[in-house]
């Protein structure tokens, strides 16, 4: 039986009828049409499906859309302001923090969370902060470099992404 779910995705309020078994990642891709969030492994390991819920990075393949009731979801599509890329997007571009690019949206979202928690991370802290994301091309060196560069660009003054009163999963 379908249920109504209402949530905010990249600042836009949405209301949809979904089956409880619909995973959040499928909701984002197939219902909301936001295909930037990728499905890499389907086993909760690769992090390609990482999105922000409130101020927390989560794997959208390991959550049902109905759990996101009243949540504020941010996907890779919500980062740029018009033509101006988010500093992390720009840094992945500048440092070539990717090869095939499939894992990149997940890495960038995990990076946004990492820098919100720790605006000036060491390389070790970057690697630990990205442990939930797998890249099979780069060997990670340029990914770490990109996060380091973005931290510099952002001046170590990263503000926490705005927390909403109701985050999915309830805090």
């Amino acid at each position: 039986m379908k249920r109504k779910v209402s949530l905010t995705v990249n600042g836009t309020r949405r209301e949809d009828e979904v089956e409880p078994r619909l995973l959040l990642v499928h909701y984002l891709r197939d219902v909301a049409g936001l295909t930037g969030t990728h499905i890499g492994c389907d086993t909760s390991q690769c992090g390609a499906c990482t999105v922000l819920i409130g101020d927390k990075a989560v794997k959208s393949c390991t959550m049902f859309a109905v759990q996101a009731q009243d949540a504020d979801v941010q996907t890779i599509e919500g980062l740029a302001k018009g033509d101006q890329l988010h500093p992390l997007q720009q840094a992945f571009w500048d440092e070539h923090g990717l090869q095939c690019g499939f894992c990149t949206p997940g890495f960038i979202m995990a990076g946004v969370y990492l820098l919100s928690q720790n605006p000036n991370p060491t390389d070790d802290e970057i690697r630990k902060g990205l442990e939930g994301n797998l890249c099979r091309c780069t060997g990670y060196v340029n990914i770490v470099k990109a996060v380091r560069t973005a931290a510099k660009t952002m001046g170590g003054q990263t503000k926490q992404p705005q927390a909403t009163a109701a985050t999915a999963g309830g805090d």
Binding site: P20, R21, L23, Q45, K56, G170
Partner: protein, 270 residues
């Protein structure tokens, strides 16, 4: 991969969760952090008829120090344990274990109660609960950890029972938990914990059998004056681990001995 269909309700309180479980019957499941249950459902290894979502049950999310005991609400998430000063000061090994569960994304969702109720033999909290003689409190009764874990993925809880709280006595002396794995976010191939408590040692092992193991033979050897090296030889006494993709039974027993030795030595600062 798409899970089989199920009914879904959110509970706002423990009482409401219990009545929903009773209404849906014994094939219903509690949905906590979901980071074990949802993967199992995607693979259709689990096909619950209904999920009772307790993520909105605020009364289950807390860390308190009361009467010399650390009381932790079942819905407290890993990220909240790893960063909590009360946990760091009173049961530091719990904070350190929480810091090593999965990855940031997993720790933002997964809960201590979910791990304990799921009773995966590779889970780290069950080992800690067993070795520190934690108490597990449900809506119906109180269990000593040794009576709570019954088999792999099996606890003493009834179908309409909800885990509400975990109670640890203060254990802030020398300690070390070593989780042996190939990738940072993996489950333990084998894990070993050592905690100095009340003048003696508590030793626990993870993923060397269907349930967590308290290595009492090692504890006794240490109490009788054995060196960590000598005592750790007893870590595999009585173990009969099953092999898996990552390790044969013999290799797991070897790891139990080696990791126990290292855990004691590192706890001692040797």
């Amino acid at each position: 991969m798409i899970p089989a269909a199920f009914e879904y309700e959110k509970a706002g309180s423990v009482e409401e969760a219990v009545s929903l479980l009773q209404r849906f019957g014994e094939d219903a499941k509690i949905l906590a952090g979901g980071h074990s249950l949802i993967p199992l459902m995607r693979l259709r290894l689990a096909q619950p008829s209904a999920l009772v979502d307790i993520n909105g049950v605020k009364e289950l999310n807390y860390v308190r120090l009361e009467g010399g005991k650390l009381r932790i609400g079942a819905m407290t998430r890993h990220v909240e344990l790893q960063n909590n000063d009360l946990v760091r000061q009173n049961v530091p090994m719990l904070a350190e274990i929480a810091d090593e569960v999965g990855d940031n994304q997993v720790r933002n969702m997964g809960t201590i109660g979910g791990v304990l109720a799921h009773a995966d033999s590779a889970g780290d909290y069950p080992t800690l609960a067993l070795m520190l003689e934690a108490e597990l409190v449900t809506n119906k009764s109180r269990y000593q950890a040794k009576d709570f874990f019954k088999d792999v993925f099996t606890t003493a809880m009834a179908a309409d029972e909800v885990l509400c709280e975990v109670v640890f006595a203060v254990a802030n002396g020398p300690h070390k938990y070593i989780k042996f794995r190939r990738r940072l976010f993996d489950w333990a191939i084998v894990g070993a914990g050592a905690q100095k408590l009340n003048g003696g040692w508590r030793i626990g092992l993870t993923n060397v059998g269907p349930m967590p193991v308290r290595a009492t033979a090692v504890e006794q050897a240490l109490a009788s004056g054995a060196t960590p090296e000598q005592a750790a030889e007893h870590a595999s006494d009585g173990l009969n681990p099953s092999g898996d993709l990552r390790a044969s039974p013999d290799y797991k027993k070897h790891l139990a001995r080696v990791l126990t030795k290292r855990a004691i030595q590192q706890a001692q600062g040797a």
